[in-house]
Symmetry: C2
């Protein structure tokens, strides 16, 4: 497997376009379209919030009922959530407009939205934007990058990656783009991710691979603990790599899963690092846990703690807050056995041994914390399971962005 330049247009047969539809933002692109020249097997995973945006309902239906799909139309600025029957009808209108332009059925077109909740989409502008994008679809790297920029809201950087891997002697490619900065606590966030591959694989295994991988990637990130109404990951596979279709869990399937994990972990970590107002990526590793569920619960509790996040912003090794967040996670463990470490490119330092303060240099701790990516490690000394969660620091700018997001 090799990481290459590119994103959603890296795999054979995928094209992208974007446009400035004027949905909320002025003077920037705010709609994107991704399209495959041939029909795709599709897998999808969606928010667990019981308040589900209209596009989530539309897309779930396609994933569950359609054998194939071929395109997705995405807008930034308005989430089309809490919009009732009217909002759902706009999903159908958008898919219909795209289908007509592209010569495919409306039920082969996914839609996705991100932005303010509770406002209706300006459907005329959405339809006009859709019609404007179709003739501009291109397979270039630039078209993919432009699409990834069009779906940003409070994101400060676009997020895309592509990898190549070999299955059955054939080179296959997997690329993806995502957005997400606030309201990020995916349980299966508003995060959106769109993945494209030219691999040939049956729909069941495509969906299974996606569902399994999000547990260790998107579902392990948190910016603010708020699980969005719109979280969506869609994975398109068009088969143009020419490999024999993967229909069983063989070595090819495992190679695909490694590629998928690389892409998902990259996109998930970029979202955490680009969390609203964040100045750094904060990684939490729980090691030697009794089982995976315990490790996941503890890692997420630390990554989500406001006090820990503020401490990371302040470069302050106030490690008692870490142990405190572990303790209220709901998982059972022995606090008096826990060793705590911090590490970054600057070095590694033990802060606590067997639940008590280790003899460490505060000055070195502050230096380690000052890096752009910092990891806290908690060793439970119970077993062989581990988990990693990703978050970010809590800053003045998080408050600023969210005290006035709509204005």
């Amino acid at each position: 497997m090799e990481i290459i330049t590119g994103g959603v247009t890296a795999a054979e047969g995928f094209l992208a376009a974007c446009t400035a539809a004027g949905i909320k933002y002025q003077n920037r692109v705010d709609m994107a379209m991704v399209y495959s020249k041939v029909p795709c097997k599709c897998a999808g995973t969606f928010t667990s919030n019981i308040v589900k945006a209209a596009p989530v309902l539309w897309d779930k239906n396609i994933v569950e009922k359609s054998a194939f799909a071929q395109a997705v139309v995405v807008n930034a600025g308005i989430a089309n959530a809490c919009t009732g029957a009217e909002g759902l009808s706009y999903c159908a209108d958008t898919a219909k407009a795209a289908g007509e332009c592209l010569g495919i059925p409306a039920d082969a077109v996914f839609v996705a939205s991100t932005g303010v909740i509770g406002k209706q989409l300006p459907i005329e502008r959405i339809v006009a934007g859709t019609k404007a994008m179709a003739p501009q679809l291109a397979a270039t790297t630039e078209a993919g990058t432009a699409a990834s920029k069009a779906i940003m809201t409070t994101d400060t950087e676009n997020k895309e990656i592509a990898v190549t891997f070999t299955v059955g002697g054939k080179k296959a490619t997997l690329g993806g783009m995502s957005k997400g900065s606030g309201m990020i606590h995916p349980n299966m966030c508003t995060m959106l991710a769109f993945l494209t591959t030219d691999l040939a694989i049956c729909k069941e295994l495509l969906q299974e691979a996606l569902l399994e991988d999000i547990k260790d990637t998107y579902n392990m990130i948190s910016v603010d603990g708020d699980t969005s109404t719109n979280d969506t990951v869609l994975l398109f596979a068009n088969g143009l790599a020419g490999n024999a279709e993967i229909t069983e869990k063989n070595a090819d399937y495992e190679e695909f899963k490694r590629a998928l994990h690389t892409v998902n972990e990259f996109l998930a970590k970029r979202m955490a690092a680009d969390g609203e107002g964040a100045t750094k990526l904060f990684e939490v590793k729980v090691i030697h846990a009794a089982d995976k569920a315990q490790a996941v619960t503890i890692a997420k509790s630390v990554a989500c703690s406001s006090l820990v996040k503020a401490m990371v912003y302040g470069n302050d090794a106030n490690w008692g807050r870490v142990l405190c967040a572990m303790g209220y996670s709901g998982a059972q463990f022995n606090p008096e056995a826990v060793d705590l470490y911090i590490e970054s490119e600057v070095g590694k330092l033990q802060l606590a041994a067997n639940g008590l303060a280790a003899d460490y240099s505060e000055e070195l701790a502050t230096k380690i914390f000052s890096a752009r990516e910092v990891t806290a490690v908690a060793d439970l000394k119970m077993g062989d399971a581990s988990a990693t969660a990703w978050g970010c620091d809590l800053t003045y700018d998080y408050v600023k962005i969210n005290a006035d997001y709509r204005s």
Copy 2:
């Protein structure tokens, strides 16, 4: 029942004192002592965090095993949490010193601490402070107020209240003080509350009344979602009111419960309103829920949402965030039935009807939000249950306080 001036010294027979022991802060009082002239029945409730501070372990043991207790010694600045056997021995040393000065057994002395986790107490200064306080004990209102100030950490205001009520023809008094500003998400927080009454009541009913009432008061507040290692509520009843001891759930018991609820709700709301960096108290009422558990889960989810709290700070009626936080709470309900309102001293306004935007004035919404105390009401239209949670806004100052709390 009548609210009167006073706090922990309002009830007959209770005395208080404080001193500047130099534990962490300079030039301020940082230790308090409360003492009853006669032995008390005592009830207590403590953090559910599995990382429990040493004083929590000490106090739980007294509540569970001793028929009587008579004093509590409290320090601010260091939490005595994650301090192992050494930390626990300092609880015993403190209680022993107090017991010697007061002429009571060490196991009749509670201890409580709040502050930084993971540091050992300067036990010589704690013992010296304890010895300095004992001769200064006084039953005056001023002594109670001074004690309530001594236990503050990042609190900006002291918190105390007292009420009188009548049982069996006798006037009884209940007073209390609390502290709490950060690491506040009590599941039975570092919140500490100390309640004193001269009521005569058996220990079992005293404990039952306390456990029941904290569910609707301290356990319904959150500043930052972090459940402390030190949360403690202690309730002393010395019997000096002269009523016939309450030993069954009669009218006198109900009158005491009303008094207890008034005191606990006041102290709990003051902690939420004085949350670290907070500019206002944010109340969340869930009404017409199917059952109490559902109402509690939803109310707490909204009160704890970082996005909702930032919105409250920004005076921005971005109600979709409220519905979103309800939706990921884990409770089941129909989002398309929900009505949302906001209210304050300025007025009341419907923001959403049946899950969709209502036609409201953004200008009026901003005015309502600008009050010092704001309530959000969510009507689920399912049944007769309701719950109220209290939180505060998320502000620049929360980040500032917690990015450098130790320095």
